[in-house]
C-alpha cells in the first residue's frame, strides 16, 4: 500500500510534531509512506475566500504532487475536506479526480481503511476534551452530529478508547465551532476570538487538562486563546496520542 503524506502548510511551519507523529504512526502500522517534497498547500485559503482563480495553480500543484498513490493521508480534517469536496479550481482531469477520491483524513484512514483498533504502545493518563472540528464532524462525517437524529458513532472515540489511562470530559457544547474558520480568524477577529474563548472555557469548566483534536488549525487558535487567558490548558493532536505520546 503506497501512502503519500500531506502535511499542510501551517503544520509544516508551526506544528511539525503533528506531521512527525502521523508519519511514525503510519509506519508503525505497516504503511510505506512517501512525503512528496514539493508539497505546499491544498488551496483552501483561496478557495474559502471565493478566489477560485487564485486557487487554481496551487490545486494543480497539489494534484501533481500527490497523483499515483493508493492513498493520500493528512492529519487535518479541513484540508482533506477541501481536497475532497472543494478542489474545483483546477482542471478536473483523471488524475485530479483520483487524488480527490483517494485523499483521507488520518482518523478516517485509520478507522475505515486500515481498520486499526489496537494501539498497544499508546497510553495517555490524562483528562481530555475531544474537539471534533467542523471539517471532520460535519463535512467528513467522522462522528454523530448533535443537530441530526442519527445513531451515535464516533470514529475518533473508537480509536482513542483503546489508549490506556485516557479519560474524557464532556463540555456543554461539544459540537460548537471554535471560531477558527480560516481567514475568518482575522477578518472577523472579534467574533472568532470570542468563540475560541468560549470554547476553551467550556472545556476547562469541565476539568479538561488537554484538548485533543484531528485539526491543528483549531488547536492553534484555541491554544492562542487559552494561553492569552493563562488557563493552563494543554493541546495535542490525536496523531500524537495514538502514536504513544505520554504528555
Amino acid at each position: 500500500m503506497k501512502v503519500a503524506l500531506f502535511v499542510p502548510c501551517f503544520i509544516n511551519a508551526f506544528s511539525p510534531e503533528v506531521g512527525i507523529a502521523t508519519l511514525e504512526l503510519l509506519e508503525k502500522l505497516g504503511c510505506e509512506v512517501d512525503y512528496p517534497l514539493d508539497q505546499t498547500c491544498c488551496g483552501q485559503p483561496m478557495g474559502n475566500s471565493g478566489c477560485e482563480k487564485e486557487a487554481a495553480a496551487t490545486e494543480e500543484l497539489f494534484v501533481r504532487n500527490f497523483q499515483g498513490y493508493d492513498f493520500v493521508v493528512s492529519p487535518s480534517g479541513s484540508c482533506v475536506h477541501h481536497v475532497r469536496d472543494h478542489l474545483t479550481a483546477c482542471e478536473q482531469s483523471h488524475q485530479a479526480r483520483a487524488v480527490r477520491a483517494h485523499t483521507y483524513e488520518l482518523v478516517e484512514f485509520l478507522h475505515d481503511v486500515l481498520e486499526v483498533r489496537e494501539f498497544p504502545w499508546a497510553e495517555f493518563p490524562h483528562r481530555v476534551g475531544l474537539h471534533n472540528s467542523c471539517g471532520t464532524l460535519r463535512a467528513l462525517r467522522t462522528a454523530k452530529m448533535s443537530e441530526i437524529e442519527e445513531p451515535f458513532f464516533s470514529k475518533p472515540l473508537a480509536l482513542l478508547k483503546h489508549v490506556k489511562g485516557i479519560e474524557f470530559i464532556t463540555p456543554d457544547r461539544p459540537d460548537e465551532c471554535c471560531g477558527f474558520g480560516g481567514t475568518f480568524c482575522v477578518t472577523e477577529a472579534a467574533v472568532s476570538a470570542r468563540m475560541g474563548i468560549d470554547k476553551v472555557r467550556d472545556h476547562q469548566r469541565h476539568g479538561a487538562e488537554y484538548i485533543v483534536s484531528a485539526d491543528s488549525s483549531c488547536l492553534m487558535h484555541q491554544k492562542g486563546c487559552s494561553d492569552r487567558l493563562s488557563l493552563g490548558l494543554k493541546f495535542i493532536h490525536i496523531a500524537q496520542i495514538l502514536n504513544g505520546a505520554r504528555a
Partner: protein, 457 residues
C-alpha cells in the same frame, strides 16, 4: 449602497459583555429546546426530506400552483392582488386602505412587509401602523429593524426594553420585570386594535388546493389583527405556496419545533375567506423571488419557512446579533438571501461565517445554507466585490502557495519572525490575530527539514 461592515458591528457587540452573554445563552437555549423536541420524533429526518421535497416540487411548478391558489381564493371571495416588487406591494396596500378611508392599521409580524419597507411608506402617507407582536413593537418603538425573524428584540435586555417603553409609552424606566413590560404594551395596544380600520398579517403557508392561508403566532395578535377590524390584508411571498392541505401536517409539525423548540405555536390560524360583511385581500409578492428561482445554485433558499433555526444555532450570529448583518434577514439565511437583493451592499455577509455547517443541519427544509455561503463567496470574488486587502492577499497567497520555492522561503520567514522578533514588534496593531490570542511558537525545524534530516540518517 454602502457595504455593510459586519465585522465592525460585531466587534462592538462582542465588546458589550452583558448583551453578548445574554444573547448567546438565550439563543442557545432555543437550539437545545429544538434538539429536545426533535429527539421526541423518530421520523424527524424523514420529515425534513419530505418537507424539502414538497417545497422543491412546489417551486418547480410554482406558476401552476400560484394560479390554482388564486382561482380558489377568488372563489372563496378573497380579492387577490399581484405585486412584482416592494414598491408595487406598498402601493397596492396603500390603495386598498385609502379607498376605504382607513387611517389606522394594526398588523402582526411579517418579514415580507419589513422587506418591502412598508411601514415608512404608509406612515409618510398619513396612515398609522401599529405592530401588535410584542418583540416587533419594541423594535418599532425603538426605530430598529427586527434582529431575528422569530424573536425580533432578542438582542435587548429587559432593562433596554424598560428604557424604550419609558420613553415611548411612559412606563417607569426602572420597572424591568417582563410581565409588567408585557402588560404595559398590552394596555396601550389593545385599544388600538379595537379602534383599527384595517388589520394586516403575513402568511406562513398558502395552500393552493383551498386558496386558504395559515398564520402561526404565539401571542394571538395575528388573530386580533385579522378578526377585529372589518378589513384583513395578508401579504404573501410567492414562495409560501404548498400544494395541499395535508402538507400542512408536515410543516406545522416542524415550524415551531425548529424555531423555539415547542411542539406547536400557541395559535395556528387558518383563513379562507372574508367574514360576513368584511373583506379579505391577498397581496402576492415577487420582489426578486422569481429571479432567485432562476439561479442554479441559490433557488433552494426559497424553500425557507422562516423558522430562524439557522440563526439560533449559528455561533457567529449568536455572538454578533442580527443588527450587525444590516439587512432584513440576518444570520446564515441572511447571508444567502440579502446578496440577491444587493450584492455590493451585502458582499461581506457570506464571509461572516466559519462554514461550520450547523445551519444546514438544523434547517427543516434542508437548505444547503453553508454550501450556498461558499458559492456566494465565489460570486463576490468574481464580481470583484472583495475588499482590496483580501483580494491582494489572495493573489499573493496563490502565487506563493503554487511555487514550492517561494513557499519554503515564506515558511522560513514566518518561523524566524515568530522565533526572533521581540514581543512588542510581533504584537503590533496590525497583528489582528494577536489582539486576543497568542501566536504559535516557532518550532526548532519545519516538518520538511526534520524529514530531510531523517532521510539522511
Amino acid at each position: 449602497m454602502k457595504r455593510v461592515d459586519h465585522a465592525a458591528k460585531a466587534e462592538k457587540f462582542v465588546g458589550d459583555t452583558k448583551h453578548i452573554e445574554f444573547h448567546d445563552k438565550r439563543l442557545w437555549e432555543l437550539r437545545t429546546s429544538r434538539d429536545t423536541e426533535v429527539h421526541g420524533i423518530p421520523e424527524w429526518e424523514e420529515l425534513r426530506s419530505l418537507a424539502s421535497a414538497i417545497k422543491g416540487h412546489t417551486l418547480t411548478h410554482l406558476a401552476d400552483y400560484l394560479e390554482e391558489f388564486e382561482r380558489n381564493a377568488v372563489a372563496n371571495g378573497v380579492v387577490v392582488h399581484w405585486a412584482k416588487d416592494a414598491e408595487e406591494h406598498n402601493r397596492i396596500v396603500h390603495q386598498i386602505l385609502s379607498e376605504r378611508g382607513a387611517k389606522l392599521l394594526v398588523k402582526s409580524k411579517s418579514m415580507l412587509t419589513e422587506e418591502c419597507e412598508m411601514r415608512p411608506y404608509l406612515e409618510a402617507r398619513g396612515i398609522t401602523v401599529v405592530e401588535t407582536d410584542l418583540g416587533e413593537q419594541i423594535q418599532q418603538r425603538d426605530n430598529e429593524m427586527p434582529s431575528h425573524i422569530v424573536v425580533p428584540a432578542v438582542h435587548k435586555l429587559a432593562t433596554d426594553v424598560a428604557k424604550v417603553f419609558a420613553k415611548t409609552i411612559g412606563t417607569d424606566p426602572n420597572e424591568s420585570s417582563i410581565p409588567a413590560l408585557a402588560e404595559a404594551q398590552r394596555q396601550v395596544t389593545r385599544p388600538l386594535i379595537l379602534k383599527a380600520d384595517a388589520g394586516m398579517t403575513g402568511c406562513n403557508f398558502a395552500v393552493a388546493e383551498t386558496g386558504g392561508i395559515t398564520v402561526c403566532t404565539n401571542e394571538g395578535n395575528a388573530d386580533l389583527s385579522a378578526n377585529v377590524p372589518p378589513l384583513h390584508i395578508a401579504s404573501i411571498g410567492i414562495e409560501k405556496l404548498i400544494p395541499k392541505l395535508e402538507h400542512l401536517g408536515v410543516f406545522i409539525r416542524m415550524l415551531s419545533r425548529s424555531a423555539l423548540g415547542s411542539p406547536i405555536t400557541q395559535y395556528t390560524s387558518h383563513f379562507r375567506g372574508p367574514r360576513a360583511g368584511g373583506e379579505l385581500h391577498y397581496v402576492l409578492v415577487d420582489n426578486g423571488r422569481s429571479a432567485r428561482l432562476a439561479m442554479d445554485d441559490f433557488w433552494y433558499s426559497l424553500k425557507c419557512i422562516r423558522c430562524g433555526a439557522c440563526m439560533n444555532t449559528c455561533p457567529v450570529y449568536r455572538r454578533s446579533s442580527g443588527l450587525s448583518y444590516g439587512g432584513v434577514y440576518a444570520g446564515p439565511i441572511g447571508a444567502i438571501i440579502n446578496p440577491t437583493f444587493d450584492l455590493k451592499k451585502y458582499s461581506l455577509l457570506p464571509f461572516a461565517s466559519t462554514l461550520n455547517g450547523s445551519c444546514t443541519n438544523v434547517c427543516p427544509v434542508k437548505i444547503n445554507i453553508h454550501e450556498q455561503i461558499y458559492k456566494w463567496r465565489q460570486i463576490v470574488a468574481e464580481k470583484r466585490e472583495l475588499p482590496f486587502v483580501k483580494q491582494s492577499a489572495m493573489k499573493v497567497a496563490g502565487q506563493v502557495l503554487s511555487s514550492p520555492k517561494l513557499f519554503r522561503a515564506a515558511v522560513e520567514v514566518a518561523d524566524t519572525a515568530v522565533a526572533k522578533l521581540p514581543r512588542a514588534v510581533l504584537y503590533n496593531p496590525l497583528n489582528v490575530w494577536g489582539k486576543q490570542r497568542e501566536l504559535p511558537e516557532a518550532p526548532k525545524q519545519t516538518f520538511r527539514d526534520w524529514f530531510l534530516e531523517r532521510s539522511k540518517k
